[in-house]
């Protein structure tokens, strides 16, 4: 029942979750850049027939196999994955929920480090993404451009001089380029400043989304911020503007943390230790609860309240407590109640291993 082809990912974290954060404030968790591309002469996925999509899928797959910019490539046709396997990819941020809505003729290609993922026949023929840890947008951006050059030299993209890269949805036309970042901003939340800041951010053209991207809910005070304009600006300018805005939000979070620790030290200490107490002792934990509580622990680490746990351990808990990961870890399908119990067991073990 556990897909053999996915086992290699079970014992490890994606590289963007693994690295110890160079940014000690731990506000920007990860940065993602992505491109939407379509192949000239083929109908787009929303109107193409399943046969056409399958034909195009194999053509794209063949081409991608020879990519030099991707190391240790793995290819997963969506129709070969079961429900659990598909969720596993979504939980690792390697594919969208939408990719698996239609199974025939779609799939995902990833590299060994899980920094690169290419979705085939999702909303567009190709969705190429790079995720890096921290706020390493430029590193991700250059990698993405190199991959795009290579694919574009082998497959002819649908492109027009005035409108740029032609995409399924007008919201992506032009560059087909979006930058996003996952931000952990608990202090803005606790201090009630979040509403004002999000309002400002949205009106400045940055979109706010949940933990798994479009149409998903916020978990553990982690928000996804992403650019919205794809036409009329160069990719370089889009990156630069995004950075300025995210630095602003991070700055506000930093100030809010400072204020919390100066004015409400006991309150915040209590919040952190309560979270620790529940995670260390509870016998039933839901996924959402773990996300909320690990958020408090994460804040505790960055404020120096808790020193025994590191971010990698926390990331491992965050990743493997998710429903599909948990079931993979325990090697079988689990009912809700069983899941909540085994989740608490897993969390307790991880915390004990880290020595507290």
């Amino acid at each position: 029942m556990i897909d053999e082809k996915l086992k290699w990912m079970l014992g490890k974290l994606p590289e963007w979750m693994n690295g110890e954060f160079t940014n000690k404030d731990d506000i920007v968790i990860s940065s993602r850049v992505r491109l939407a591309r379509n192949i000239k002469g083929f109908l787009f996925p929303s109107v193409a027939s399943p046969e056409e999509l399958v034909r195009l899928y194999y053509r794209i797959e063949d081409t991608l196999r020879s990519l030099k910019a991707i190391h240790g490539m793995r290819i997963y046709p969506a129709w070969e994955l079961d429900e659990l396997g598909r969720k596993f990819f979504v939980e690792r941020h390697l594919a969208s929920i939408d990719l698996f809505k239609k199974k025939e003729g779609s799939g995902v290609v990833i590299d060994e480090s899980e920094k690169v993922s290419i979705m085939i026949n999702e909303e567009d023929h190709l969705r190429i993404q790079c995720i890096y840890e921290d706020f390493k947008v430029e590193e991700a951006f250059i990698k993405l451009m190199e991959i795009d050059d290579e694919i574009g030299s082998m497959l002819n993209y649908a492109y027009k001089d005035t409108l740029g890269f032609i995409t399924s949805c007008p919201t992506n036309i032009g560059t087909g380029f979006r930058v996003s970042a996952l931000l952990h901003i608990p202090a803005l939340f606790v201090s009630g400043k979040i509403e004002e800041i999000l309002k400002e951010t949205i009106s400045s053209g940055i979109m706010v989304r949940g933990y798994y991207g479009e149409g998903t809910e916020v978990r553990g005070n982690i928000f996804q911020f992403s650019t919205s304009q794809t036409l009329g600006r160069s990719e370089e300018d889009i990156v630069q503007e995004f950075k300025t805005k995210i630095y602003d939000i991070a700055h506000n979070e930093k100030e809010a943390r400072k204020e919390l620790i100066e004015k409400n030290h006991t309150f915040i200490e209590d919040k952190v230790y309560r979270a620790y107490g529940i995670l260390k002792n509870a016998r039933m934990l839901s996924s959402l609860e773990v996300m909320e509580l690990t958020s408090h622990l994460r804040l505790g680490i960055s404020l120096g309240i808790i020193k025994e746990i590191n971010y990698s351990t926390l990331n491992e808990i965050m990743l493997f407590q998710q429903p599909a990961h948990l079931q993979f870890k325990f090697g079988r399908t689990l009912k809700q109640e069983e899941r909540d119990y085994l989740r608490s067991l897993f969390v307790r073990r991880k915390l004990t291993e880290s020595g507290i």
Binding site: N23, D149, I166, T171, I173, E214, L231
Partner: protein, 156 residues
């Protein structure tokens, strides 16, 4: 049929929210995302900025000769069927693009199959990143960026 969220009218309603309005209990059926927004005061960005009804359009319907998708169908699902749709639909879709992006002309990467990002481009991007990293005292990242720049220089 599934019941849709009262607020966004797009996603399935999964949460029931009880509100007290002027002393009276009111039950609202919302999706998880809107319910979260109501509960925390934090609203997420809309899924798509524009969706028009046929009547509002006031345009003549047009059909893309390549894929057969009509303009009205496009406005319903907001996805085109092929690379020729934009030309076939003309003004109404260009207006929509202007509304979404505030522009109608591409200023990014100019694609040809032979196109390659230049060394100068990469260096410019990395130099900017290095400046930010130093300013923010992210020394480990700065060191790696310097290595990347150095190897680009050596490529010359």
């Amino acid at each position: 049929m599934e019941e849709l969220c009262e607020k966004c009218k797009k996603r399935k309603s999964e949460v029931e929210l009880v509100e007290i309005v002027e002393g009276e209990k009111k039950l609202r059926k919302l999706c998880k995302i809107c319910a979260h927004g109501e509960a925390t005061g934090v609203s997420m960005s809309p899924v798509l900025p524009v969706k028009k009804e046929k009547e509002e359009l006031g345009e003549e319907n047009k059909i893309c000769p390549n894929c057969g998708l009509s303009l009205f169908e496009f406005f319903k699902k907001t996805k085109v069927g092929c690379e020729f749709c934009y030309e076939a639909f003309g003004e109404p879709i260009i207006k929509l693009i202007q509304k979404i992006h505030g522009d109608t002309v591409h200023k990014g990467k100019k694609y040809t199959p032979k196109y390659r990002v230049t060394r100068e481009f990469k260096m410019r991007v990395l130099e900017r990143a290095l400046k930010d990293a130093v300013e923010r005292e992210e020394f480990e990242r700065a060191a790696k960026l310097r290595d990347m720049l150095k190897s680009l220089q050596e490529e010359k």
